[in-house]
């Protein structure tokens, strides 16, 4: 059995090592076009910022180590340039020797990853991407040059923000250019606000709603005509699967641009498999094909394709795309679909925002989380979740991701029995609290409105009733709001005008109690979901504040 693997990073090497553990006799050859095998691509930004100082830790494996331990033949600088499914052979170009050769296979695994598609406007000697160790070394060298003072980063996704944090951390003027209306569109506008604010707080300049028109020397010209001087431009505008060789070989390519595969990672040819960023995944929420360029899935599917080839297959499960980013102490995480995507696709959803403390408020070191759930109104199944904060974010997104995978409904999050001691959580964990609010909205006990609905409702005549204290009201309020603190609301209910009332507090909890009191007193009340905090965050990002 001869197995060829195209690509020697996450998916390819996971497949190779698992194959060896399953079959001592297989011949396993890995062709890697680049100079390194199995390097830590998620660590690259942190080497730029001197957070990781030992470059060798990013390149922990060598062809020799895979050879000694796993008898895997790793060929660096070897690029697969053609696949011939008819003869079951690949053509390989050896970049070091300048020669080409042909290799037959019993099974071929394509794990060629994805590469950045440099937009034409960014073409310049000063523009680099950040996808490989070589990219990292080049950027590091430019940062070390005496003339380097200013860096422009194009694209506010994962790599853009991580690069911005690290480059700014070293003191360079750092500007992020984002074509869309907000940074990091994986998060909804009101959830991205703390992340954006933290970047600005640390001196990063954010330019949204604009793009680079051209680069001349160290002058970057934007679409609004303004210019920024920059000695380095990092392109993180996006990536595309390296599927051209597969396409040329006649393999089926999906609408996403990735290689079509079945749940056992098999392409349209029965002897060819594809895993990692180059292959399509099935989306858990929609059931349709999607691209998910995450290291976790690449590793998992690499291991899984080895099981398939060795005769112990297990179907891949649909993907949620759980992901996380940290910048300057703020962590933001997401799983499943966000509101923007649900609205764009016309899919019905109910929204829950909560802002619980990350752990018991009487124990030092905690902070306030923002948690958002998107819920299917018909089934109460969770379609997506977002968590942002300074502490305990990764835990809550993981708990929610497992709940979604397992089909635990939003209302039943209240029943999760999570670990509590005051330094780790609260007796009512933030996820339990999200479940309580979800149940209250699902049952109709406490109807809610969203931050972006307030304007229209107020214009239609609704009263905005702020039930926070007078001191909180003085520090900042929704324009036009009436203030009656919660503890006075039974006595002062007569001050509330007839008609529709939008109650709100700081985070939603006192608003919940006020809504119950006033509803039972005969008022027509909804609670502003997530309270003033969510409204401020949303209107800040979108500029919708009146």
């Amino acid at each position: 059995m001869k197995i060829l693997i195209m690509g020697g990073v996450a998916g390819g090497m996971a497949a190779a090592t698992r194959l060896r553990r399953l079959d001592e006799d297989a011949e396993i050859v890995v062709f890697e076009a680049g100079p390194y095998v199995s390097f830590a691509n998620c660590g690259l930004p942190y080497y730029l910022g001197d957070v990781i100082t030992d470059r060798d830790t990013l390149i922990s494996h060598s062809p020799e180590s895979f050879g000694n331990r796993f008898q895997i033949d790793v060929k660096l600088h070897h690029e697969v340039t053609a696949i011939d499914p008819a003869t079951k052979a690949v053509t390989v170009h050896d970049h070091a020797a300048g020669t080409d050769s042909t290799h037959s296979y019993d099974a071929l695994i394509i794990a060629a990853g994805a590469t950045a598609n440099l937009p034409v406007a960014l073409a310049s000697p000063r523009t680099l991407t950040l996808r490989t160790i070589d990219d990292m070394d080049r950027i590091h060298a430019i940062l070390d040059e005496p003339g380097t003072e200013s860096v422009v980063i194009v694209g506010g996704g994962f790599i853009g923000l991580e690069a911005a944090e690290n480059i700014r951390h070293r003191g360079f003027a750092t500007t992020i250019i984002q074509r869309g209306a907000q940074l990091f569109p994986l998060l909804d506008p009101e959830m991205v606000a703390p992340l954006a604010a933290e970047l600005v707080e640390h001196g990063v300049t954010i330019r949204t709603g604009t793009q680079v028109r051209r680069i001349d020397g160290d002058v970057v010209t934007l679409s609004d005509g303004s210019t920024i001087r920059a000695q380095l431009v990092i392109d993180s505008t996006g990536i595309a699967p390296n599927a051209s060789i597969a396409a040329a070989a006649g393999l089926r390519i999906g609408d996403t641009g990735g290689i079509w595969v079945d749940p056992r990672h098999r392409t349209s040819n029965p002897f060819i498999y594809a895993v990692g960023d180059v292959a399509e995944k099935t989306d858990l929420v929609s059931g349709t094909a999607t691209l998910v360029a995450l290291a976790g899935l690449a590793n998992r599917h690499g291991r899984a394709v080895a099981d398939v080839i060795a005769g112990t297959p297990d179907d891949a499960v649909p993907s949620l795309g759980t992901s996380i980013i940290g910048v300057f102490g703020v962590t933001a995480a997401s799983t499943g679909w966000n509101e923007t995507r649900l609205r764009a696709s016309g899919r019905a959803h109910r929204i829950i925002h909560v802002h619980p403390a990350s752990h018991a408020t009487y124990y030092p070191g905690g902070s306030i989380l923002a948690i958002k759930l998107l819920v299917d109104p018909a089934t109460d199944l969770i379609l997506g979740a977002q968590v942002v904060g300074r502490d305990g974010v990764d835990k809550r997104i993981d708990v929610l991701a497992v709940a979604i995978s397992a089909g635990i409904t939003a209302s039943k999050l209240k029943n999760l029995e999570l670990a509590y001691a005051p330094q780790y959580a609260s007796a009512k964990d933030p996820v339990n609290i999200a479940g309580y609010v979800a149940e209250n909205t699902a049952s109709g006990l406490v109807p809610t409105v969203q931050w972006h609905e307030v304007d229209a409702l107020a214009e239609a005549g609704a009263t905005i009733l702020d039930v926070r204290t007078a001191a909180e009201f003085e520090r900042g309020r929704i324009p036009g709001a009436l203030n009656i603190p919660l503890d006075e609301i039974r006595d002062r209910a007569s001050e509330i005008p007839a008609g529709s009332v939008i109650v709100h507090c700081q985070v939603g909890q006192r608003g919940n109690t006020a809504t119950r009191i006033l509803t039972q007193a005969g008022h027509l009340v909804t609670n502003l979901d997530g309270g003033y905090l969510t409204w401020v965050a949303g209107t800040t990002t979108t500029g919708r504040a009146r």
Copy 2:
């Protein structure tokens, strides 16, 4: 509708406030025997250690605040002394006024909690428990006395260890007396080792397998005849439900000593409910009645009983008893059953130990976790899990607790799509890795043996084969082990004696590869589950090292 509540801490106040939100017209009266309502009992140890310095944060609510906001009548120093189910009334003693009164109810909620049962041998003026604000204040005052130098803590459970950490943190000589063979029996022996080592490292004296025989003045005499001077003795040997009033009223008491309740928190009397530490729970693993004295469940069931009384009931789900403790930077957490309990009950189980890094090893700040799974061999369902380490422990126990609740099998933990960036996790999350190992053992691909089986197998003639490097072998080894590093094992397989071979490495991963290589070469091999690290931990705790 008049609802009386017996007990004003977690379960009682959660019930009271939820009831008010559901029903503005109900009459709600809470009788609390003590001087405080809704205090933060899980914070008490941390006030002793000056980690929490503002005492008021532990008493965040007052009868007035519940009165103003929720129109709940909280009566402090009022102890329910009798329940008359026939007339639906309770007798209440007012400790402040010295008077008794009778109060009728439509519904009665018993949330009387549990109290310490002081063993006779501990009776002394210097012995205190740590269950209330008053207890805490008394202990704090004794610690502040100039003559206080040494504290004995009896019982190495949650409160004992948390008290020990905090009291030692302030510099007092601190000794924990534990009747059983190991500290903190919620964890299995090999899992408790890092916790015990950390306590010793910080100067806490641990005396296991002994108990206090008597206390005379400041001399504590143990059962082995030895004595310890101590100006303060803290009893944390255990608690029992405050069920005597309920029992006297003829309510059904379970074999556990807690009040029997149905899934809707109703006692054997249809107008009386019980929640929190005083009430039985249903165990998820066995399906039988159990006691779980955890704040999370008390809060949850307090809220749930309000829903039942208000006519929107939802059945309680069985309990896992997920819990967590931190001492001196080491965190230990548990959910479901441990090995000790499974063995004692004769329930079949498969065991998995893994020791992954808490996050990507190339990113600073991570550390090694110990994760243990107990798995039902017939169904692959997870019966229990334990996690110990310095970083990311709370996250992994929560993920595992949700997986258990949702019926995700051990092998399918591999599919959980958890958030990865290098500062939070690894591309293969520790929980995924536990799933991989679980799958390898379930399928028979890599058979394993446990640390406590090594002695007997070696005596029966098995070869212990250490596949770590020579340097690792030199630093510490299992007596009698043969050392052939993994990377040399194919060439040196002829050195391995015929017959049964127990392979091991440091944590199990290289052992896994070695097992596969040697099995395919015709050897009869098992891998030592969790490797040398688990073996050292287990033999250290039990003194079983040869």
